[in-house]
Amino acid sequence: MHLPTPAGMNRRHFMRHLAASAATIPALNFISHVQANAAQLKRNNKACILMWMSGGPPTIDIWDLKPGSKNGGEFKPISTKGNLQISEHMPKTAQVMDKLSVVRAMSTREADHGRGRYYMHTSYVPNPTVVHPAFGSVVSYEVGTKRKELEIPAFVSIGGGGSSPGFLGMSHSPFLVDTSGRIRNADMGDLEPARLNQRLEMLGVIEDGFIKSQRGEYPQAHKDIYQKAVNLMTSQQMEAFKVDQESPETLAMYTGAPAQGGMMGGGGQFGRGLLMARRLVEAGVPFIEIDFGGWDLHNNVFDTLKNQRLPQLDAGIAGLVADLTQRGMIDDVTLVWMGEFGRTPRINQDVGRDHWAASWSVMIGGGGLNGGVAVGETDKDGTSIASGKSYLPGDIWATVARQMGIPLDTVHTSKRGRPMRIANGGSPIQELIS
């Protein structure tokens, strides 16, 4: 089993401690001691898990149903443990909706995949003169750098194509892994640490010379990322990626597959990714993104949702919330579920829905936020925001920043010296925090 690594308790510390105390206290006692400490130190383990629905999910069929409307589609709403209804094909999630809320008044104006992806990740619309950091990179910069005990990257992206750290620098880029938990080429083979050090020393001589030659940002970025890569190669925290160390029962909780049914095929990747995310949070990683694609449903939306997307989504979310709750972590981990945009309320001739950014939903919960709330509403056909206020990605990320203890007056500076306010100056969503 993998141990959580609390603040101030890094691997070297652990090894020393273990060596010193091994003679006097049994190892098992020591482990439970660490676990007790973990609870006390949890305040430092604030984290965010972003569930990224690549392609743009039809939130009108998931979080904000319109029964009786011409746009309503095939699904019916069901009641939940929270104060809102969701899709009938999300029955397990319905049982944990007291922990989760839905912002139903998103209005984000970018309905192109690339632009929407950028906007939702960074809170800024694309601009040719500057690359803004994804919020995961912001967390790496603001929170990750303060977690001295963290030896693996502070921003991990599971199964996705990554995002740019922008002007914060490559060392805050996401560490990309797939759901297998196998990290390619992280193994040094039988190279002795002393020899690795010698190589790195030589590397340092060559790299520093090149950095001094003022050839822009890449030389330094290259050095930074190597430093982090070497750290992770030698870290015990890499165990956190090994999802297979979990019991079949735990895995089944996230995938909805029967515990004894053997390893699932392609079916449980989302749940597996979420389980890995929980393990990473326990290891101290503050931001994890899980990519779950297949939402660009220009045709055959209802069958695909009912038979493929929603069962996985439902099991994954419900499993994660139950597990985090059980472990007493739910109030420290903010969960965000979003894609590039929503999909057209109107059902097209191929029984599909197209791109739609005008009125859609983002799910957000845990992290000490109010659960079971529907924030804002759309009109009866789902085509526009019926409540007064609409929300932008910056409001979502400002809410996350607040819950993670990142001050909202934080300002970053672009390469040109232009000040950039965190989450593009968005405000935490009142209904979720009061």
């Binding site: 743009g56 080429n185 030389p219 190669m233 390469k415």
Partner: protein
Amino acid sequence: MSLSHAERQRLLTRLDAVCDQRAQAEDIADIERLVLASEEARWLYLTYLDLHGTLVWDTAGGADTAAELACYVPPSDALPMPPATQPNRKFGLQLKWSAMIALVLLCGILVGRYLTPPEISTPDQLAAQPTEEVIPATNVVAVPDREPTRHRPVELSGNPLTQANPATDTTVTNPIPTLAAVPARVEPDWSAQSLDEISRVSRRIDFWLAADWEQMGISPSPRVSDVQWLRRAMLDLAGRIPTVPEVTAFLSEESRNKRRELVDQILADGEYARNFTTVWSNLLIGRSPQPDVDQEAFHKYLRMSFATNRPWNAVVADLVSAEGNTHENGATNYLVAHLNNQAVPATAITARLFLGQQLQCAQCHNHPFNDVQQSSFWELNSLFQQAKVVTERPKMMTDNRRGPAMAALTTEVEGGPIYYETTNGLMKVAFPRFNGQDVDPAPEVNRRKALATLLTTTDQPQLAAAFVNRMWAHFFGAGFTTPVDDMGPHNPPCHPEVLNILTEEFVRSGYDIQRLVRWITDTEAYQLASRPGEQNISDDIATGDIPLFSRVYPKPMTAEQLYDSLLTATQAHQQGVSDWAAAEAQRQAWLDEFVVSLQNDENGESETLSGTYAQALTVMNGDLMDKAVDLSPGTFLGELVRSKSTETEKIRTLCLAALSREPTPKELAAMQRLVHESSANRKTAASRVSGSGYQDLFWALLNSNEFAIVH
């Protein structure tokens, strides 16, 4: 006074903030300042808020009587759809009236402006202009009376023309000197000089760039050393670093024209064709494998085209008009890869790659500040209306089993326009048209063939400019516009004279790709170092400033360059696989690990190697590195270690192999120390291999930033 590139970007950012309701006092103050200062800024302000203000208003639910207003992709069937119905509410009518009145007002203003002959306004004239023209906010967006507090474009306080407040100026970025102030320059009489077909063009470019440098008060970086230039040119042209023999040969070559001769030599060589095939295949069909797409056949088509120097307009004509089996006619794979989703990706990518136009947004609405209209998108789309991908599984000759699925691109007899919906729910038609040139919409006319004829029989300056821009960026690390594929009046190019010269000459040359490469690589700018000097440290594209090309900007290697360069440095290609096809397959397998599909209808993908953890881990610990530091007989390192040369000589060779340069004295000392220590300190018997010090040194060289950057 016109708006500089930087000012334009700043204004757009601030206007975005206004649309997002995020504008701060300093944003407003800066908008005021910019709008006051130039007529162009006023136009930008007007057109931007006209469209984006309206869109934001709509999407934010400001006009809740309107039906589905924002951006969406129409259904894939091209039949006309009923117009979206308006909810039947009383105030809907009122809103419509107020909107119409507002529109009439706006039109009045716009028409008035268009009718005014363009002239350069003096400050006095500016001050005398009526303020409605500058502050159209309340006219642009129909604000219903009942909820005046909701989203609406911000109103500038008072009259910006009379309230310029110098005190607020300190809060904004320092004004950037602008090229626009350059007084007209006249080129010298070139005919007086004896210039050949290449220098005839490159000297003109030198002239214009030098003029811009002088104007900006900077001096260019010095010329880069021959050996460093060789490394850059090889990476740009052949996609790999030079070998040790190539470095040595180039250094000992005494010809005054040796740089030009090297370019000619690489162009004549298969590696140029292979490298540009990689570059263009990534752009045209992407790296991820797709069902129905025969990547290998596509590569073969491109390789043949670049090797025989097929004119660019003919290549584009092939790509848009190809028919037949994807295996037999490689060019078909371009459209086969992008005809999904009612050919929306094919339309967007064709516009972006071949015309340098970003039409994705025009799919749903008119472009806010250039003359690209929504109709342009669907007119272009209409050209692909007849194209269909047919998949069949031919019967095997020997028995009755079906063979593997084969895709073919065919043309159906189908006529008429495409129907699309505007933001306000109107149905419109689009007839086939390419970049302003009509194509016969009759069913029996093969539109793609007609397009190919257009491309090859009429001048296509936009096609040429888009290619020139991308090619320039390939060599310099920055194009004349940022991004390279977003050209147009809304995003004016830097160094327009240079772009124009190259575009005109490229058209005149018959879209001769290799000649374009010769012109670009023969410019003085391409001979310069990447390292800035005291006098041009400000020429830095990382800050978002416009490139001045007073040096060549460093760029990280692409995944392909990294792979091919590692192979070159270690001569790993000389071991193991000797068969070309197998080597290509191995390379492809290595690259596939680093490509992630973005799983959307625009066939997006991202390369996840360059500059990431994956690169660090792969180069440090991957199979390629194992091979690189292998000391067995027959390997590069093994032979070097066993050779009779001196220790210094061996270290020098390793530096040349990896970095194409000699070590500095300081480096040499450190390297010698390492080689000794590493060899002396091996504790276990297994690692007491002679040469382990060289292994460590080579490992460090290949992992260095200097190796992984094209500079």
